[in-house]
């Protein structure tokens, strides 16, 4: 049996999803080697979903140590994990999700990796890292045609940014064959349509104060979803404080967030009143059900990127912590 042929075991296990995305997509998933940076609340959700989908291999890169707090938010850990390396502690339960996937645990810091480390993957998923490093990894991926997606959950707010480079994909459209007959005999046919999306590099999307990049491209679009600027504010908070906002330092963190917000809104010439500061009350911690929702979206984008099927998000996804709307925002393209 050739490498690309699914076994009977796989066909049975993946039956319900093959019926949705087809055998070709399943074969592409089966050949995919995925790097996941960060296996915390959001990362564990993404890991679960893509392990279940039936990829070839998953490399989990995280140099962190399990804390009591992390244990409460991460179903891949056990009580005995506290104090140990998180990338190693998730292995047993991660593997149990799908014994057919090769899982590699890597406890080195992502900042210590050579840029050619990222070349060997089909797609890189990054959670919880700072912008300078993110841009470097994206640059490395972009030049080597490795798909890239990053995202985070702050409280009940979440986002993702995709860089799938020049991404070709197949979309199945159902069309009516000729004219409509009577209601019984409406004949349909499925047509495969190929489309291409050109994703901008991350550096054209995540542009923070003091950046050399021009923001004109982002500014010129009217009616931009203001949550995009909330996202930039949260990213910049992490860059400056080297951590996420924490409920234990809530008041000072809120103050810092408001300062960063006004800087960013000024740079982009946005009326600060468009975002009520109350929104920042909702961004502390990684709220698990929000991780589930955003982790589901990110994993689905990974599946689309790998299988080159279905319309992917182009290129920013924003999860509204108040309405729970999840929308696409095209930035920097």
């Amino acid at each position: 049996m050739g490498e690309t042929q699914l076994s009977a075991v796989e066909a049975e296990l993946y039956d319900r999803q093959i019926r949705l995305w087809g055998i070709e997509s399943q074969q592409k998933l089966r050949a995919a080697n995925v790097l996941l940076i960060g296996i915390r609340g959001l990362g564990s959700e993404i890991a679960k979903n893509i392990l279940l989908s039936g990829i070839n291999s998953l490399t989990i890169l995280d140099d962190g140590v399990v804390t009591e707090e992390e244990l409460l938010k991460n179903f891949l850990l056990s009580r005995s994990s506290v104090g140990k390396k998180i990338a190693e502690e998730v292995m047993v339960k991660a593997q149990a999700l799908n014994p057919l996937v090769k899982i590699v645990s890597d406890t080195e810091a992502v900042g210590k990796k050579d840029m050619d480390f990222f070349e060997k993957f089909t797609i890189v998923i990054a959670t919880g890292i700072k912008t300078d490093l993110l841009l470097k990894i994206d640059k490395a991926c972009h030049s080597k045609n490795v798909k890239f997606i990053c995202g985070d959950v702050f409280g009940t707010f979440g986002y993702s940014i995709s860089d799938f480079q020049e991404h070709k994909y197949i979309e199945e459209q159902i069309q009516l064959k000729g004219k409509k007959r009577d209601h019984k005999g409406e004949e349909k046919q499925t047509v495969k349509v190929e489309n291409t999306i050109n994703y901008p590099e991350l550096k054209k999307v995540v542009i923070l104060p003091n950046s050399k990049q021009s923001i004109e491209g982002i500014k010129k679009k009217k009616r931009r979803n203001v949550l995009f600027f909330v996202m930039l504010t949260l990213i910049e908070f992490r860059n400056r404080h080297n951590r996420n906002p924490s409920i234990t330092t809530k008041n000072e963190d809120l103050k810092s967030l408001q300062e960063i917000k006004s800087e960013i809104f000024q740079v982009y010439d946005i009326d600060p009143a468009k975002v009520n500061d109350d929104i920042f009350d909702l961004i502390f911690g990684e709220v698990v059900p929000a991780c589930a929702a955003v982790g589901g979206v990110i994993a689905q984008e990974v599946i689309k990127a790998v299988s080159q099927k279905e319309v992917p998000i182009h290129n920013v996804f924003l999860f509204d912590p108040i309405t729970y709307n999840g929308t696409e925002e095209c930035v920097g393209a």
Binding site: Q5, A11, L13, Y14, D15, R16, Q17, R19, L20, W21, I23, K48, N49, L52, S53, G54, E68, L72, K73, N74, F75, S78, A96, P99, G155, T156, Q175, K184, G185, K188, I247, D281, L282, F284, G285, V287, V288, P289, A290, C291, A292, A293, V294, G295, G296, V297, A299, Q300, I303, V311, P312, I313, F319, T323, Y324, N325, G326, T327, E328, E329
Partner: protein, 606 residues
């Protein structure tokens, strides 16, 4: 030292307390149920009960992540509980391996919970839990997914619409003569093949005849004599005859694919505008040159279209296997996961398709249609279950106005939305036959032909989703159907007219378990065409028009759904293209809008 808590710190402290002290019921431990349980456990819920009557199947494991291969065959509720406890042994979690519609779970059972989270896969159970939550006045979060789509909806008595406020389209049904005489799509041949299975091996069902129907009105014009023959060319039952010939495959083949087809050709009117079928002999089929069957891997067997000779040999082999299986039993039950049963349907459907020049289908595709399989993926379930628990926080905080329905849609090039929340709660439908005060419906049926037991099983239980109805004929105060055993069985085989139910009769129906009372007005109705439904149920006929203009959009575009599927629920969205009109789904928003009153029953099980 304060103990760390899993409850999100962003919640107000009063809500945090409520999360810690609330009692939650999760109904269903399938794709969404597993995800919901995980989210609850990781959000600090301490007191959870889970009910599911199902056992674990291999095809669940791609998304029902609390289960593993070694759990296959075990009860979902029990394994889900163990799996959650292995993560956090401090949670108080109780599992019921049982049906939620069982009489053991009455209104008082539901009243014990602060919130109910539905994660079901069929309409009957959803309707039942809806009624129980209305009766117990406990908030219910309803959810479902189908492929890339999904939905989360809060149901709160008096404040939102209930699960049954919108008409649910029935499964697609096909007229008997299309199945028996004039198939034009693969699904017609697949339905026929399932009926053939039941005729040969299954439970007797006169609605599943497979032989040519001479009562076909299209054929009748020139076949005047047929009315005396009651529609069947063979008087001897198919089952009896098959047993008499000891299920000899060649003879069975000859009857169903040659002789019956030849007979159909004599009904000339049928073929004036259609391509006529071509009778196929056993010898022709067996010697038909198809593609070589060299490859024996999964994809070749499951994904390719079988050659005619392969179909013939599979037909022959499976008939023999099923004959052996039948020994010592009164009948077999068709199951998509039973290999010979599924192979038989694939072979028989494709042979019939060949005869009628209809596109043939692979075993894989046939299984989707024959088994009503709704595809299901982990990601959609994860998103929906996340939203379920986010809504649960707000319900416990008594902020129900912040819980409008949220739809998950596949990303399209024409819309930015992946998750789209309604702006406001949808108010109850004032004409709802379930949640309004003193609900009523009109049932159109033939009192001279419908039996009391058919009225009970098809109208009250199957269509109106009652579990244990008591029926009193108003005016006469006579009990015509009782949920107590032994009280009204003598009525079962009587026609409705024989027990005094006539045009204009009013029936008071009371389902004690669901705490649901319904007044039914009977209107005499006779089918004018054979494909007409045997009965129709409508709300107040005069109010229907008003309702459509004021409320039609909201209620019309929402959902259409199919039973017996995985995590099912299909959203048909107004501006969606034809894509959402999945042939399996049997319904589209357009159809619904054109036909809001035609909420027909289906008698043919696809």
């Amino acid at each position: 030292m304060t103990k760390l808590s899993a409850i999100p710190s962003i919640l107000p402290s009063t809500t945090q307390e409520k999360v810690a002290n609330s009692k939650v019921l999760v109904v269903g431990a399938g794709g969404i149920g597993c995800e919901v349980l995980k989210n609850l456990a990781l959000s600090g819920f301490q007191d959870i009960e889970i009910i599911d009557l199902d056992t674990i199947d291999v095809s669940n494991l791609n998304r029902q992540f609390l289960f593993r291969k070694e759990h296959v065959g075990k009860p979902k509720a029990v394994v889900a509980r163990e799996s959650i406890l292995s993560y956090n042994p401090d949670i108080n979690i109780k599992a019921y391996h049982d049906s939620v519609t069982s009489q053991d779970y009455g209104v008082n059972f539901f009243k014990r919970f602060n919130i109910i989270l539905n994660a079901l896969d069929n309409r009957a159970a959803r309707s039942h839990v809806n009624r129980m939550c209305l009766a117990a006045n406990v908030p219910l979060i309803e959810s479902g997914t189908s492929g890339y789509s999904g939905q989360v909806e809060l149901i709160k008595k008096g404040e939102t619409q209930c699960y049954e406020c919108t008409l649910k389209l029935p499964q697609k049904t096909f007229p008997g003569c299309t199945i028996r005489n004039t198939p034009s799509e693969p699904v017609h041949c697949i339905v026929w093949a399932k009926h053939l299975f039941n005729q040969l091996f299954g439970e007797d069902d006169p609605d599943q005849d497979v032989s040519p129907d001479t009562e076909d009105p299209e054929a009748k014009a020139e076949n005047e004599h047929s009315s005396t023959e009651s529609g069947n060319i063979k008087r001897l039952s198919t089952r009896q005859w098959s047993q008499d010939i000891d299920y000899e495959p060649a003879q069975l083949f000859t009857k169903f694919f040659h002789d019956d087809i030849k007979y159909l050709l004599t009904m000339e009117n049928l073929w004036k505008t259609r391509k006529a079928p071509v009778p196929l002999s056993w010898e022709q089929a067996a010697s038909h040159r198809g593609d070589a069957e060299a490859e024996n891997n999964v994809q070749a067997i499951d994904m390719r279209i079988w050659s005619l000779s392969k179909c013939a040999s599979v037909f022959s082999d499976t008939v023999s296997q099923l004959k052996t299986e039948l020994k010592g039993k009164s009948f077999l039950v068709w199951d998509k996961d039973d290999k010979p049963a599924m192979d038989f349907v694939t072979a028989a459907a494709n042979i019939r398709s060949y005869i009628f020049s209809i596109e043939q289908k692979s075993r894989f595709a046939t299984k989707s249609i024959a088994g009503n399989i709704i595809p299901a993926i982990a990601t959609a379930n994860a998103m929906i279950a996340g939203l379920v628990v986010l809504h649960a926080f707000r319900v416990l905080a008594e902020e129900i106005e912040k819980c409008p329905t949220i739809f998950l849609r596949p990303k399209s090039r024409h819309s930015k939305f992946i998750l789209a929340a309604d702006k406001d709660l949808v108010k109850p439908n004032p004409n709802c036959y379930v949640c309004r005060a003193n609900p009523t419906v009109h049932v159109f049926l033939n009192v001279n032909t419908m039996l009391v037991k058919e009225f009970e099983s098809e109208v009250l239980k199957s269509y109106l989703n009652m579990v244990a109805p008591d029926v009193v004929l108003a005016g006469k105060d006579s009990i015509v159907i009782s949920s107590e055993e032994g009280e009204t069985e003598i009525n079962n085989d009587k026609k409705l007219s024989e027990i005094g139910i006539v045009d204009g009769s009013i029936l008071k129906v009371d389902d004690f378990l669901q705490n649901y009372e319904l007044t039914i007005t009977i209107t005499q109705y006779e089918k004018s065409k054979p494909e007409d439904p045997s009965f129709k149920v409508v709300g107040n006929p005069e109010e229907m028009k008003a309702k459509e203009s004021t409320n039609g959009k909201e209620n019309g575009q929402k959902e259409a759904e199919k039973e017996e599927s995985d995590d099912d629920l299909m959203i048909v969205d107004e501006d969606d293209n034809v894509k959402s009109d999945d042939p399996q789904e049997g319904s589209s928003s357009k159809k619904r809008k054109l036909n809001p009153v035609e909420d027909d029953i289906c008698l043919i099980d696809v």
